[in-house]
Every structure is written in structure tokens, then in C-alpha cells.
Symmetry: D2
Subunit: 427 residues, 4 copies
Amino acid sequence: MSLPSFLRRILGGGHGGADPRVRELARLCDALLAESGEYASTALARDALAAWQDLDERLRDEFFDVLATSYSPDAEALKGAAGAYQADPSNDSLLALQRATESPRRELFDRLNMAAGGTAALVEMRKALLQKLKARPQWRVIDYDLRRRLRSWFNRGFLRLERIDWHTSALLLEKLIQYEAVHAVQGWRDLRRRLESDRRCYAFFHPQLPDEPIIFIEVALTRGMSARVQPLLDVSAPVGAPASADSAMFYSITNCQEGLRGISFGNQLIKQVAEDLKREFPHLRRFATLSPVPGFRRWLEKSAPRELVARIEDPAWHLGEVPEELEKDLMRRCAYYLLREKQDEEPLDPVARFHLANGASLERLNWMGDTSESGMARSAGLMVNYVYWLAELERNHERYFREHLVLAAPAVEKLARECPPQGQAAA
Amino acid sequence: MSLPSFLRRILGGGHGGADPRVRELARLCDALLAESGEYASTALARDALAAWQDLDERLRDEFFDVLATSYSPDAEALKGAAGAYQADPSNDSLLALQRATESPRRELFDRLNMAAGGTAALVEMRKALLQKLKARPQWRVIDYDLRRRLRSWFNRGFLRLERIDWHTSALLLEKLIQYEAVHAVQGWRDLRRRLESDRRCYAFFHPQLPDEPIIFIEVALTRGMSARVQPLLDVSAPVGAPASADSAMFYSITNCQEGLRGISFGNQLIKQVAEDLKREFPHLRRFATLSPVPGFRRWLEKSAPRELVARIEDPAWHLGEVPEELEKDLMRRCAYYLLREKQDEEPLDPVARFHLANGASLERLNWMGDTSESGMARSAGLMVNYVYWLAELERNHERYFREHLVLAAPAVEKLARECPPQGQAAA
Amino acid sequence: MSLPSFLRRILGGGHGGADPRVRELARLCDALLAESGEYASTALARDALAAWQDLDERLRDEFFDVLATSYSPDAEALKGAAGAYQADPSNDSLLALQRATESPRRELFDRLNMAAGGTAALVEMRKALLQKLKARPQWRVIDYDLRRRLRSWFNRGFLRLERIDWHTSALLLEKLIQYEAVHAVQGWRDLRRRLESDRRCYAFFHPQLPDEPIIFIEVALTRGMSARVQPLLDVSAPVGAPASADSAMFYSITNCQEGLRGISFGNQLIKQVAEDLKREFPHLRRFATLSPVPGFRRWLEKSAPRELVARIEDPAWHLGEVPEELEKDLMRRCAYYLLREKQDEEPLDPVARFHLANGASLERLNWMGDTSESGMARSAGLMVNYVYWLAELERNHERYFREHLVLAAPAVEKLARECPPQGQAAA
Amino acid sequence: MSLPSFLRRILGGGHGGADPRVRELARLCDALLAESGEYASTALARDALAAWQDLDERLRDEFFDVLATSYSPDAEALKGAAGAYQADPSNDSLLALQRATESPRRELFDRLNMAAGGTAALVEMRKALLQKLKARPQWRVIDYDLRRRLRSWFNRGFLRLERIDWHTSALLLEKLIQYEAVHAVQGWRDLRRRLESDRRCYAFFHPQLPDEPIIFIEVALTRGMSARVQPLLDVSAPVGAPASADSAMFYSITNCQEGLRGISFGNQLIKQVAEDLKREFPHLRRFATLSPVPGFRRWLEKSAPRELVARIEDPAWHLGEVPEELEKDLMRRCAYYLLREKQDEEPLDPVARFHLANGASLERLNWMGDTSESGMARSAGLMVNYVYWLAELERNHERYFREHLVLAAPAVEKLARECPPQGQAAA
């Protein structure tokens, strides 16, 4: 009666109306689960993963439906354990309840992972799952189990930081070109420039995915804090001497694995890279980002006076001379947006949220910091420097979590104070 | 009201009467847990592990007590989720109940693992825990959480098989000398002989413990199936030519990490090593163990006639000429013990259980196979060859799990049939 | 009196009228040589090499002049030893004469090599030397010493064969793009195609030049023996399955280090690669080149009737329909050129010389095998397959050296016999 | 007429009366040399080396005789070139003479080296050669050629320094146990103590002999400059904290390859290790040796008064109380021996010669610094600290070579001055 459903299926009928290929895959999963733990067969795991990889999108959806319904904990047994715990919340009944909540699904993921390439395949599986999760809330039980497994396997203790440069394999470098989302790489020549001696690139790797970066960051070693990103991306810019640099500018950070969404490592990456750079170049005095303000333009459209919105709808508005009062107006509104606009007590802007939670502080707004199409479209051309003072990160981070205090330089504070009330034109 | 207890402690009092060093450790754990997930500090993790490693045995016990009581799921919240599920066992209420059963303890282990050396420290922690778990059943909730973490991190997909030979580091070889429990290594000269060209040694390794074998196996390449272990262990035995060997004899397998008890890899190791050897030496025709019968002597003492028991109590009983009827009698009783004596349908003998479950078959009993002190004391000098026919392992393994059939050669079956009824002397 | 000249310079004046920078470099060389052998300073070696690398072309020429005159063996001492040997050619006088012929130059190269990067710098130095050696025969004494050193350091026993693929570092792959001389690489996309699974690329490396290939070879795995090179170079050609290939076509081999000219490894490379491929793909039946006939067109211009030469001077002569008799005529002349035209008993064509000396045989002429500009200009569009029958290489190679026999397939022999007499038009 | 002798042999008779196995080896060598340079066969090289390795001592001697006579330069051709040079010592005649002095022997060694394991085999061959070279001066022409090859291949630029510790392979560590000649290693426990964290061990390696150290050095990190070696060698001495050490004591340096005698690297090793240690432990203030005085006792026997010699012939003379005047007398004589006794202007003591030539200075004599049997027998129990002041090594080394100045501390100078005249008893 309390047999797990997959065992009942093995003895009885199987997975109802599904496509034969999905039924075959479910049969492999059942067989894999039927094994006694330590004897579970890597051959079955390999076959099941191969069968999954052969499914097209429609059949994968079918399989997710099966996974969401047939591999949950046994409801009767769980109800019983829940009742027992309510009656007597002892350590023993807690243990029994914890065991009863564990789904065969989670065990299935553990066993699939045993196959060669299993980890990569499960990261891919979650990517496919996430793409439709909003539309299929019933799959959230799958994501709960799969994310738990991935979170455990990708524990930060298992990641290693590696520098990426021109000595790195072409296979890996090609992936950087594909993955880089913030400032797209324009072919190998562009990539090569980004790996010259006045640049640095680092990534986190997992032992099971040796050729796949998890997340990577690009850094420029500069004299003075960069205000604009186009000079940093200029393929023909002369290569600077890293020894004479005083600033490390983090100008791009990219999460590579869609299937690991919500399992974040970015903050660790920045801190570790900053510490490594400090060791290599003790004369570096400033670690700062050159970051977009990705929600600014959308926010402007909702909150700014119609004339302003209309004005910057002209794709050429920033070319030629821009009136000083327009620049001032936009800078003030941007400062206000970053410092005052909130979502659940935290800054509305996702990039600000990320860096401030890391313990960085908002140092400077940069007019026409990114004049690329996307820079204009998302950030109205503005960019921000968030500064990482290594000695203060922990304290800032704590304060941020206690008080949600947005640390900003006085000049930025002043801009925010000067911002005209929402909906009103600048005086 | 539903605040986790560790948060209440941070706001309120702390961990009652415990020693200051334990309280300090608990405070570090609380601080580590108080961080928002992705920002959890590796520095705190490192400090907490260092504090734990500094505790003596008594204080570690105190800390385990704290861990067992203060880091469980919040009882009120869990009762609520249990009730909701009972009322409506939907996917949503299942998710809520699963979340509610997750203990802060498990999260704590995840975060401790982020520190350098974290995995090794947690394996050590479980070792300490297991040593007293029988006497302190209230710690089982700790073991439940810790074992789950370790089981996930030591997923077989993450282990890699490595050959160990005289090119291996002294650091690692020294550990083999320490760990080898079946046939103790008598110093470096003995070890060197076990790594000569007619021997093989393999181990499983985990990326986080590069200098620690998880489990290792020793193999002798021989002509004919070895019946006795002493010649295999003879330090001055001439080195044979592996090219002329037809058998691979697995004569020792050792689990190295006490803290990973119950997370077993032995069966995978044997299969993988057998396949690797077959590739390297295609002419190998037989893969077999030379195994002890560790429960035989104890079983004899309970089941055999008093005269027989008395006779083999003389430590010298096997020296000189042994009467043929005594040899026959013991061989029959041993066959009976292995084939007929059960524990929950499975063979009573743990070594038989292990190999038969792997899909091996019991090929031969060997008289005076191990005349060492421990061989006489545990197995009355007998040894067994379990044969691994690679092509039949899967099928045998399945049959074993379905029918608990004990596969044995006809000669062994015959011996078991000839065994006199329990308690009676041989005819 | 018999002091080496560099010692006299140290005590006395120095290197006459040379530029101060050349004098400074010579001073460093003298100081390096003045050290007692085993104590020679790597710091001095490093400074001397750096000084050399800073010289421009004119000053390097000046330095070579100094090197050719001031670092030869002491003439008086050598005359004495020569006389002593003539008088009594014993082992002792031989030893004395051998010692007297050793130039300080050779010792200087040994000591320069001790610096980090020394080997690479000396390879570069020889490259600079060779570029003007014809015009400056007095430098041949430098080349004699330098080539001896390089030949010893680049002994084939020190080279290791490595496969190059998409896992290789971008740094190295970029060098292939630069060095490939036979069929130029059109950027990264072209290179990537040449490293797909139906292609192979191998290179020889020296431990002191880890990022510099010495020589590399490109191979295509094909069904049937390729007759034309353009399909092999087609970037958008579908990737074939190596498992179904029966031929390995060596279509490009490139010496990378101009400074190692005359120290050849090509023949070893082909043999070793063929053996490696045979191990990986036992079903490969044929190892053959697809080679140019680089001297054919030039030879035609001297030996063929004027009308023929004029005809193929039209850059478009091969476009559209080519009359059958023209094709026949050119094929016959090419066969004659390859089989009958000699330079000191060996084939006049350098590529034929190379492969035939390796023990390969001339298997087939391919009409319009290379229609690229350079293929038309040098080989009149023809290409040759030289076949490497692994089992016969040694024997063929020996015969070639004894008899200079040109092994060719009967069809090629027939073509050569049908060739009209030189200077005459085809019948 | 000017055919090399080995070619005449191939065409004509062969190697006269030698044993068939030696003749077969010579035949292989001839065949190897008969190949045209770049096509020389690695298979022939391998066979020739295998044939050599199979010879016993007597046959190796025979082969050396063949090598010394049959593979020298052609005498007639050499006489001609010698005459031409005498008549006109131009660059061209120099080149011709240099070519004529090159023996086929040297080319043979080059070609043998192409085989896998060739370098190691040739190092072994020279070891065998050196063992009898004094008795067979006619072999010196072999040694000249072989040493030149080895010297070129083992150019210091090709060696890499590696730290040896408990992570090193057992294979290599076992070799340290075998090779250590200064202070013999008493098994694995002793070796392990020498590799603890307050000790360091470094070796030079060559790419072709990855498992063979060329030379290695042992260092102790201590507080204060060690005066006695026994405490350093004490297996049960507690492990010190390297962070609190102020001195690095070089207490043993061992050349491992007898076949590389005369191709020395010791001085480079000391300097490089000292620099590495200085980087790792910036607080180290003193780099010094603890060295024997290996020639002292023998010198004493020749130069000291009979009573003194007789006195220290008693093996127990140093046990119990030693009269102060005896200690003073021996210390003075030892200082005199080190500072005043010469061999060709350099110190008579070989260890003093080595360190002083390196640029070290003689800092201190240590009474009863080495009370081991060999320490008493060779150095009368005394040991010396030579100090390496990194900043002054170059200058000291130069002065030593110019003036053969023996740098010593004032206290040692004073001892030397107080020494009674040779042959006389102390006053």
C-alpha cells in the first residue's frame, strides 16, 4: 500500500497514455530506482540520460509531466508521518517525517548523476525546465528537487577560480564569445584584445564541467577609474602597462549556465578576483565596476514628464551637443532612481542591488558611459561605478542586510536630492 | 513566532549552559546561517571549522548536543505545514511541507563546506559522530542531515578511479599502509612488493580530497586461481610476468573514510577495475576474490558440537597433520554456513553478502587459505573465491535482489548438502 | 701568446671600431666566457641576450662580423696542434687537435643558452644569420658553430609529438595560422574546420619552446585517396565520420622555425603520425600525401615548346573546357619531370625528393588537383599522391639511398614514357 | 681513400677479432651511421642500445676498444686539412679542419640518443667508461666525444629546479635514499624527517630523465647557524616552525649521476635554492653550509707531529673530556689547512675549493661538528660553516678567480695564524 508509485508501476501497468519514447524513458528511470542504492547501475543512468537527450521539446514536456506526478513522495505514507509528527514532535518523528518527504525524484537525480556527463546533462535538463516553469507551475516540485541537487553539487567549496588568457584552449575561449552577454564579443580579434596584458579574465569552474565556465568576469587595469566603456572595448586601443595601473575596472560579469539560475556565485567571484589582483599588483588602489543601469530607461518612461520621454525617444538625441540642463536632469533622475526607488526595501535596479549587497558603494554616475545601442536603450547611456573597498566589504554587506542602507558618494547623494519630484519637469 | 531558533538566539540569549568555547562555535554557526544565502561568508565558515577542530572530545559532544537540539526545523511551522498537507495533499502543500522539514543544520553543513578543507572536516565530523551514535540516539537527526550532504557530495559520478603504484606520492602510499585493514602492510618493503608489476592497486578519489583515497583494492595477477593468501603476501616472492597471468585475484579491499560509512562504492570499484584490467590484459580469463569468511568461527562456536569447538580452540590445532575427517567436517560446515545461514533472507556472512549482491558467484572453498592469526581466529583458516564473470554480473545481481539466490559452484553445493545437522558431530 | 683573443681583449683593448652598443655586447660575451666553466653566470647570459635583442639590423650585422673574427680558435695554437698531429697521428695528438679546433664561439653559445629563453633567442639569432649568409660567406664559421649547437639541442630524442586540436591554447593555434605556408589559413573559422573530427593535426615540440611548434602536419581522414585539395580546404564541407575513413591524406607539412633550417624532422613526423593514426583507426588502409609539384611550371618554361608555355601563360587557361590533348601533354610532361629530371642523381623536384627519400612511392598524378593561384603558378594545377606503405618504408628508403630508384606506379611510369622529347610539341 | 673507417668496414671486412656480440653491435652502429643524417632510424638506435645493455663487463670493454679505434676521424683526411690550415689559416680552411676533426663517434652518440631512453643509456655508458678510464688512457678519445654530447644536452638551461617533499613519488624518494652519500639515509623514517616542514630538499631534473635527479641538496631551517650535524639528522628531533627560523643550513649536496662527472651544477643549485628560500621566507638572514673537511685528517697524518697523529688514532680519543690544548691545536691546524694549504694556487681541501669558488666565505670552524665514524675518520670531527651572502657572491667569486683569495672570518684567520709550524707540536 505504501509502495512508492514507481514500484507499483514496475509491478503493474506503467505510465499511462504517454508517448512510447517517454514511457521507455520512464521505464529506465524506474529500473534505475529499483536497484538497491549502492548497486545502482551507471549503465542504466547513461541509457536514461541518452534517452532524455534524444527527446524533442514536446516529448520532454511530456516527460516533465510524468516526473511531476509519478515521482513524488507517497501521499499516504507522508500523511501518516505528518500526523505522527503533529501528535509528538520528537526527534524520531521528525526523522520519519523528513524521510517521508523525500521524493524518489531526488534519488533519481542522484543516480542519473552517476553517468559520465551526468552533471552537465542535469544542468541542461534544468535549463529546459526553467524555460517553461512559469507556464507550468505544477513542475515546481521538479525544480525544487533538481535545484537542491545542483545547489549541493555546485557548493562553492567545489568551484575553483581560474584565470583565462591567450594560453587557454580555443574550445573554452569560443564559449566566452558565445556566452558574453553584457558587451558582446566581436570575434577572435576582439577577444584577444580583452585578454591582453592590461586586461584580466577569470572564471569559476566545477570539476565535473572542465570545459564549461560557470561564471566569468572581465577586468581592465587602468590609470584612473574608467567612466566610459567604449574605450575599454576598443579593439585597437594601445595595450597599457599593468604595472602603472592604479585601478581594476570590472566591466563585465556573465553567468554562463542558465540551468544554474538562482545558484549564484558572482559576489564570491568579484571578491576573490579583487584579492588575487591585489596580491599580483600591490599598487592597485581601487577596485570598481563600470556597470549599466539596466532599469533606468524603463523607469523613466513611467515616471518622467512626457516631454523628456519623447525627447530621448529620438535615437539620435545624444549625438551632437546635448544641452547641459538635459544632462543634469537625467543625471539627477538616475541618482534618484538608484538611491530612492525600492522593491521590498532594496533598490529597484537589479545591478545596484547586486553590488550594494556585496558591500560595494555607489561612487559615481558617468554621463554617456555606454553609447552602444543597448546602452542607450536600457540605461539612457549612463553608467555607474560601484567601488569595492576590500577592507569594508564585510561591514557594508552586514549593514546592507540589516538596514538596507544604500552607500553612495556625497556627489551622488546630492544629485538624488536635486531630482525634481516624479512626473515633473526639471525646474 | 516562526523564526528559526538560531535567529531567536541571535536576537535573544544564545546557547544556555554550554562551555564558552562551544557557545562561541554556536555563535559562529549562527552568524554563518544569518547571512543571506549567496553572500554567506567563507571566512565565517573557516573560523567555525577551526573552532570545531580545536574542541576536545568532551566539548565536541557538547556541541553535538547543541546541534541536535538547536538546529532542527521549527516545530510550530512544521506542524502547520504537516496539517496543511494532510488537509490537501497538493503539489503546493507538498512543496511547503518539504521546505518546512529542511533543517537549518543541513544548510549549516552546506555553508561549512565552502571553506577550504571543508569537505574533509565534515567527513571527520561525521566520523566523530558515528563513534558515539549508538549511545546517543538523539544525535541521529544530525547524522541524517550530515549523511545526506556527504552522500550528495560523494555521488559516484564525482569519483575518479586512479591506479596507485610506485610513482604515487609517498604521502598517499603512507596512507595505504595506515588504512589497509584486511592484510596489514608490514612497512615500505611490503608495500613496494604489493605494487610490483604482477600486482595492481586502484583507489577512488574525490576532487576535494586529492590526497585521501576513499576506498582501495589490491589485485594480484596470477596463473591459476589463488587458494591461499600467504604466498600473495610474501615480500620475497619472485615477481611474475603479468603477460602470462590468466587470473586477477582481488585479495584486499579497504574503505578508508570512517566518516563515509554507509556511503559505499566497493561494488563499483571491483567492476571498474575488472574492466580496466580486461582492457590492459585481454588474456585474463578469470576475475576472482580471495576472501575471508569472517563470521564462520563465531557461528561454529554457537552451532557446532562441543568437541569440535574445543578442538579448534587449541591455537596449534592446524599445525602438523590435520585428520582428513576434521578437514572435511569444517569444509562442509563452512559451505553450509555460507549457503544456508541467513539474516533477513540474505547470507549471514557479510563478505558473502557483499560479493553475491555484486553478482559474483561462490566458486571454491580453500582449506588453510589464511593461516595468519586473524585468519585462524575469524575464519578457522578457510578462504573463499568469489568469481566475477563480467558478462553475468548484471543478471546475477538482479536475480540476487529478486530471489536472494546464492550462486555457488556444484562442489560447494555438495559440501553444504553433506553438512551434518547443526549441533551434531560429523557421522 | 696562445691566449684566446677574447682574453687578450679583456686585458687589452676590446673590439676595434664597432658601435658602442656592439662593443658593450662583445664585452658581455667576453665576461661570460672569462668565467670558469661551471660558474658561468646566467645573469651575464641574460644581459648579453637582451643586449643582442635590442640591436637593430645594422648593428646585428656588425656583431656578426665581430663574432666571425674575434671568437674563432686561436690560430697559432691550432697550427701547432695541426703540426703535432701530422707528425704523429696518435689518440693523444688527435685529442689535442680536437680541443684546439673548438672555437670560443661554440662555448659562448652554450653559455648564452643557460639564460631563460636562451634556446629561443639562439634560434632567432640563427634565423637572422641565415638571411644574409649567402652575401656574407665569412659568417659561415658562425653558422657552423651555431648549427652544431642547435642540432645537438634539437636532437630528435628530445622532441615530443603532440596532437593539436580545438583543446589547444589559442596562443599556439594562432601560430599555426601564421606559420602555415602551403595552404594558408583563412582565419579562425578555417582553422576550426581543419581541427574537426575528420581532420588531424600534429606537431613536434621541444621542452625549451613549449609554445612554439617546430614542425606541424595536417591530415584529412577520407574515403578514397583525395585527388584535389580544394574540397579538403572547404570551410563549409560537412564533417565526415572518421570511423568510416579508409585513407589518411597528409595535405600540408610546415617547418615553423627558420632558425632550424637544415635540421630536419619532417620524415620522422610523417612516420610517427602514420603509426599513431594506424593505432587509433586500425581500419585505415592508406597513408598518402596530396602534394604540390613546386618546380614543374618553372621547368616547363625552360623545357617545353613555346606554344605550350604561351598557352598556359593565360591565367584563365584552365577555366572552362580544357582540350584532352593538352591535359594529356601536361600530365606526361609532369610524369617525366618527376621521374627523369635529376639533380645529382636525385629527383629535381624538392617535394618528390623528400617523400621518395622517406621511402614513399609516387602513386598518382592528379589533374587540376590545386586550382588556387599558387597551385596554378607553381604546379600548373597538378598534384601528386605519394603513398606511405608503412611496412615497406625502411626498405624503400634504403634502396633509394643506394640506387636512387624512383618508385612509381605503372600508370605514372607509362605517362613518363609517353612524354615527347624535350622541346618538342606533343605528337 | 678518405672514406670513414666505418664505411670501409661495411664495404669490406668488419671489426677484426672481437666477440660476435660486439661485432653485431658494431654492425648496428655502422648501419646507423650509414643512414643519411635526417633519415637515421630510431629503430636501429634502439636495437644498438639494447645490444649494448646486454653486454657483460668484459664485452663492454671490448666494445670500448672498438669505439676508440674504429670511430675516430679519418687520419689521412685530417692530416690533409691540418696541412691546408697551416698553409693558409683562413675561415674556409678553419671550417674544413673543424669538419675533419669531427669523429663519427660523436655523430654515433647523437643518433643513439634518438632512441627512447637514449639519454639515460648514454649517461650509463659514460659511467661504465669512467670506471676504467685511468687504466685505459686510449679510451680518452671516447670520453672526449661523449662528454661533449652530454655537456651539450645537459646545458643548465635545460635543467629545472624542483622541490622534493612527501608529495613526491616513492620511486624518486627511494633514489634519494640510494644516492645520498654525505649523510646516509637510514630508511623511510629518516627520509620523512628530512622532508618535514623545517627541512627542504631540492633537485635539478632534465626533461629526458624525469624520474632521475641530477643533483640534490638538503636544507635545514634553523634558529642560529648550526654547528653540529648530528642534531640535524636526529630522526626524533621535534619539527621546528620554519616561520621562526633565521638560517638556512645546507647540510648535504649529492651528485647523483656518475656518468655526468665533470659536468657540474652544484653551484647553480645552491644559488637558486637560496634565492627561492629567500622569496618564500623573507626573514631568513643567513644561508650557510655545514660542511665536512674531508682532506684534513689525511693531511694531518702527513704534516702533524707523531704524538698528535698517534693520539687521534685511538677511535675513542674524542669521547669523554678532551683536553683544551688538544682542541685548540686541532682547530688551529684545521684553519691553517683550509686557509694556507694549496693545490695550484687553490685550497687543497676540495669542499673549501667548491664553496669559495662559488663566492662563499669561510665563517666558522665547529669542534665536534660531526662525530659519526666517517666524520671522525675524514675530518677529525670538525665541520665548517661556509656562508653565502647573496649580495656578494658575484663579487667574491670574481675575486676568487682573479686572486684566489680565501675569504674567511677574522676568528678563523686568527686560528690559522696561531698554528704551530708544520711538523712541530703545539707550544
